[in-house]
Symmetry: C2
Subunit: 162 residues, 2 copies
């Protein structure tokens, strides 16, 4: 019934750490991908990908944003954002224009079409909540945990080799 064991004698500590189901990052990625599948389904009526949806959320919430600021909010750099915004622009949802104050900066804002999409978008979190059965408290708790985890990982990543 058990599969052929790896060609070693006994499971040492080091080997236990290499077991696939022991990888926290793997579990995190799996949860993220499973969530992504739910959103992909809920978003297909809007014609948005999940990253595009996040960008629209940021713009709906904050109004006009520079690419840099948007990147800070979404944790993305221009290498990802530039083509993403180009696609949103060609879909008619956002407008891009260089800042008069600082010609290096590009200001992104929603068009009338993009603003109109917001109403439809309010259905998305409701649909996701309905399908997953999460309640508000549960989601907030999970968000808090993940936020603290991310902060810790960011600190570990930023830190020099120590």
């Amino acid at each position: 019934m058990t599969a052929t064991p790896p060609p070693t004698d006994a499971p040492t500590d080091a080997e236990n750490l290499l077991r696939l189901e022991h990888q926290v990052c793997f579990a995190l990625q799996n949860a993220s991908r499973a969530f992504g599948a739910i959103y992909r389904d809920a978003l297909k009526d809007l014609g948005l990908t999940y990253p595009q949806y996040l960008a629209m959320l940021a713009l709906w919430e904050h109004g006009e944003l520079s690419v840099k600021r948007l990147g800070e909010l979404l944790r993305l750099d221009s290498g990802t954002l530039s083509p993403l915004l180009k696609r949103l622009e060609s879909a008619g949802l956002v407008k891009r224009e260089r800042s008069p104050q600082d010609e290096r900066s590009v200001l992104v804002s929603v068009t009338a079409t993009g603003a109109a999409l917001r109403e439809q978008a309010t259905q998305v979190p409701l649909e996701v909540a309905r399908r997953t059965g999460f309640d508000i408290a549960e989601m907030r708790e999970l968000r808090g945990l993940l936020g603290r985890l991310t902060d810790r990982l960011d600190a570990a990543g930023t830190a020099q080799e120590c």
Copy 2:
């Protein structure tokens, strides 16, 4: 001190659900990406990406695996796995051969070079643990939570429109 509010009058419930920092999936993805950055750093000596590392973990642990079985373990389909395995093969770490029993199936196994890499790989989880400061109990708890979450999301995704 507060940022300019969005061009609406009051924050309704629906609008609160659209706030960027209220998106659980976003928090999950951020944590996953932050973790990925740590691994990317820890893995660069091995010359492996994180998905490639996961594939090697599965092969080290289980020995020879079909592409299908490997995909089940890693939650990936052949569209992702085929090119990934091709890269691992051209790096000399794995070998691919069609199964004699079932010519549709391709069996993947580690080469001597791939097996030798395992020793070096034992350093990776230790390095990650060192940098993040996680202890075993903490990681196990988090893994359990994420596993239950993934199961729930998978069920929500598999379910018909209900």
